[in-house]
Assembly symmetry: C2
Homo-oligomer: 204 residues x 2
DNA sequence: CGGTAATTTCAGAAATTCCTGAAATCCGAG
DNA sequence: CTCGGATTTCAGGAATTTCTGAAATTACCG
C-alpha cells in the first residue's frame, strides 16, 4: 500500500469497519480510497494505491456498482473506466440504507410474514409466533419511518435529526403531542402546516 | 436441528441475516432460539435444538453475554445456567445499537478526529481531510440524535417514529420550524417545553 | 478484419473464520 | 478434601470467504 499516511489510516480503518458490518475488507478500502480522492480513479490507480491484484479490484468495483455506491465516469479520449463516490455523504448513507433494506430487511419481513401465516401445531409454536409478530412489528415500524424520511433532501434530513432532540422533550413533557395532525383532513395538510396548526393539533 | 418447522425457518433465517451483518451464524441461531422460547434454556437445550457442539454453544452464549443481549437466570436447586432474551423487542434493539456504537462508531469517530488533527503535507491530503471531516460530521450528527433518542421508553420511541412522518411534512412546508428552541436558555429547556414555548421559539 | 488495451471470469490457492473434541477449570455438595 | 456435574478453554481441523494469475472477453482503432 502506497499512500500518504493520513489517507492510509483512513483507508485501513474503513476497510476494518466494513468487514465488521459484513462488507469485504478490500471492497471497503476501495470505497474509502475513492471517497477521499479528488479525481475519479481507474482500476489501475487502485491497484497501485492499495497493492491489490487487478482482478480483485475488478471484483470490488463490480460489487460497489451492484450496491449503487459508486459513480461511473468516462473521460473523453480514454477507454478506461473511472470511478468516484457521490459528493454528498448523506446521499451515500441513503443509498447504503436503501440497498440494505432491499437485500436484507424486505426479505426478512416477508419471511416473518410467511411464518406468521403458518398454522401453529403446538403452544410452543403459538408462543414463537407471538414473538415473531413483535419482531415483525418492530421492523415494520422502522421501515415505515425510514420510507417517510428517506426522500428528504440532505439539508432537511439534517434538520430533522437536530429537531429529534427537541421533539423528544416535547414527548416527555406531554404525551398528547403524538396526535399531531392525525385527524386533520388531507387537504389541510397539503396546504402546508403552520405554527397555528401545530398549536391547534396539540390542543386537540 | 430438531425443531418445529415454523421455529426452524425463523432460526435459520435469523442466523443467515446475522452473518450478513457481521454476526456469526450460529450465534444468530442461538439468539433466535432463545428469543422464541417461552422458557429460559440451558446450554444443553440449545445443543439439542440446534445440533451444535457443546463448546460452540458455550462460546456463542459468552459472545451474547458480552453484547449484553441475553438475560442470565438461575433456577433454584439447579446449578445450570439458563438464558433468555429481554421481553421487549425495542429494548433489544436499543442494546444492539448501544453495543455497536460502543465498539464501532465511537472508535471510528476518534480515529477520524485523529486524522483531522494531523498536518496535511499536500493538496491531496488536504482534500482528503475535507472529505473525512464531512464523514465525521455525518456520524457525529447521527450519534447526537441517537444519544437523544435512546433514553426514551419503548412507547415514546414508537410514538416518535410514527411522528417522524408528520414532522417531515412540517419541514417541507416551512423551514423556519427548525429554529425550534435553538436560542432559548438551558434553564428554560430543562423546565420542559410547552406548546407556548414552541410557538414562541418559532416566532423568533 | 488483426492489434491492442481494458476489463472480466474463474479455478484453485491463500487467508480467515468457525467449529469441535479433549482436557482443564470451576464450584457446590457431601 | 474429593466427587461429579456444569462450563470454559484452546489447539487444530473443517468450512467459508477472499484473493490471485492466467485465460477469455470486450471494445475500440486503424
Amino acid at each position: 500500500m502506497n499512500l500518504p499516511p493520513l489517507i492510509q489510516s483512513f483507508v485501513l480503518h474503513f476497510g476494518e469497519m466494513g468487514s465488521r458490518w459484513g462488507i469485504n475488507r478490500t471492497v471497503g478500502q476501495i470505497y474509502a480510497l475513492l471517497y477521499v480522492s479528488p479525481e475519479p480513479l481507474c482500476a489501475e490507480d487502485i491497484v497501485e494505491a492499495l497493492g491489490l491484484s487487478r482482478s480483485n479490484v475488478s471484483m470490488g468495483l463490480r460489487e460497489l456498482q451492484a450496491w449503487n455506491l459508486v459513480v461511473h465516469k468516462h473521460l473523453p479520449d480514454d477507454r478506461r473506466d473511472f470511478f468516484t463516490t457521490p459528493d454528498d455523504v448523506w446521499q451515500i448513507l441513503r443509498t447504503l440504507a436503501e440497498e440494505r433494506k432491499k437485500r436484507e430487511v424486505d426479505p426478512t419481513l416477508s419471511v416473518l410474514r410467511e411464518i406468521l401465516m403458518q398454522p401453529a401445531g403446538s403452544d410452543e409454536e403459538r408462543f414463537a409466533q407471538g414473538r415473531i409478530a413483535e419482531m415483525h412489528g418492530l421492523i415494520d415500524q422502522l421501515t415505515t419511518w425510514y420510507d417517510d424520511v428517506k426522500r428528504l433532501e440532505t439539508e432537511r434530513l439534517a434538520n430533522l435529526l437536530s429537531l429529534g432532540a427537541k421533539i423528544t422533550r416535547l414527548l416527555e413533557a406531554k404525551d398528547r403531542v403524538v396526535t399531531l395532525g392525525r385527524r386533520r383532513p388531507k387537504a389541510a395538510r397539503e396546504a402546508g402546516d403552520t405554527r397555528a396548526d401545530v398549536a391547534q393539533a396539540e390542543g386537540e
